[in-house]
Amino acid sequence: MIKLDPNLCKGCSICTEFCPKGVYEDSKTPDKKGVYVPIPKNQEKCTKCNLCALMCPDQAIKVDENDE
């Protein structure tokens, strides 16, 4: 499970660009702050490499090690 904190995300899309498996997708609609928070859409492709959590400049991403 990937958890994205919408209060911290500033919508820079670094996770969308750098995820090696293409898990994230850019949002089409802005949230109430006007930030396009990415959606972790293809979670079944995630290999839990944690690169997104390492590269998120706003510490908004948590990748859960154990699935559900």
């Binding site: 911290l8 670094i14 390492l54 998120c56 400049p57 510490q59």
Partner: protein
């Protein structure tokens, strides 16, 4: 306490101060994460870490971290850190500095810290521009790049910070970009483990000023540019300067064991006075 929905690095941060003031896509946040990862890999005690910073965007980083920190005058973090290290040589002193801080106003402190081989870990976040004050050209801006003080492009030659610090005698020097997060955290690990002056230069993106002035408006454009234009040191050694024009040479520049200043000084004190210096603990001696 690590909570279920939080980033693995949140346990080191002052949550009440988040979200931080850095622009969307700023490289400072990535450097902060890679520092925590490197610190975990080097198995450094977080309570023993002291962060020292000067003035600038990157120097705001220690304000978000739950450890002892000093926010000092412009360009002087290495001087303050040297004092801190000599006062208590058991501390792990880490200096966060920007390019304007370390290379322009604090250039002399940087090279003399390296010359003395003080046991400091200096992380220089080089975004090639003065981001906090409105996009002025800095000593590390590449030739031909634009800024508010260079509307026709910078014609000065930039500093190669990693080479400068290597020449000044540092015992560990590496350079990476924010697009190389894993390599960067490995280098930070080695820098923390190294006894001596360790300098890690991180080429970072400033989408707000550098990117906007140089036709790379989004942080992704800047990170793609860094990724495509970086060449590893081993490969760059075989290339001539014409081929390397406009490229970023990344990798490990120096990694050697050398005499360390604070150890040397304390040994001298012991030799001359016959007892170990314990200046820091003298106030607590009777407790």
């Amino acid at each position: 306490m690590e909570e279920a929905n939080e980033s693995p690095f949140m346990k080191y941060m002052r949550k009440d101060r988040l979200p931080h003031i850095f622009c969307a896509g700023c490289g400072n946040g990535i450097v902060l994460n890679t520092f925590f990862k490197g610190m975990e890999m080097a198995e450094v005690d977080f309570d023993n870490v002291v962060m020292v910073s000067g003035i600038g965007c990157s120097s705001r980083i220690p304000g978000y971290v739950k450890c002892d920190s000093l926010h000092t005058t412009h360009g002087r973090p290495i001087s303050f850190a040297s004092g801190l290290k000599l006062g208590n040589p058991e501390l792990d002193v880490v200096v966060f500095s920007g390019d304007g801080d370390a290379a322009a106003i604090g250039g002399n402190h940087l090279i003399h810290g390296a010359r003395r081989n003080m046991d400091l870990t200096v992380i220089c976040i080089n975004n090639s521009i003065y981001g906090m004050t409105g996009g002025q050209i800095s000593p590390t801006s590449p030739q031909g790049s634009y800024g508010t003080t260079a509307p026709y492009g910078a014609f000065e030659r930039p500093f190669d910070l990693a080479e400068l610090v290597s020449a000044a005698g540092a015992s560990y020097v590496a350079r990476w970009t924010t697009a190389h997060a894993l390599q960067l955290s490995n280098s930070i690990k080695k820098a923390l483990e190294n006894k001596g002056f360790s300098f890690v230069e991180v080429i970072s993106q400033c989408p707000t000023y550098y990117g906007r002035k140089n036709k790379m408006r989004s942080p992704l454009d800047m990170m793609r540019w860094m990724k495509e234009n970086s060449i590893n040191k081993r490969k760059a050694d075989t290339m001539d300067s014409e081929e390397l024009a406009g490229k970023l040479v990344v990798g490990e520049f120096v990694n050697k064991a050398e005499r360390e200043f604070s150890q040397e000084l304390y040994d001298l004190v012991e030799e001359k006075y016959g007892k170990k210096s314990d200046a820091i603990k003298s106030a607590y001696r009777d407790d």
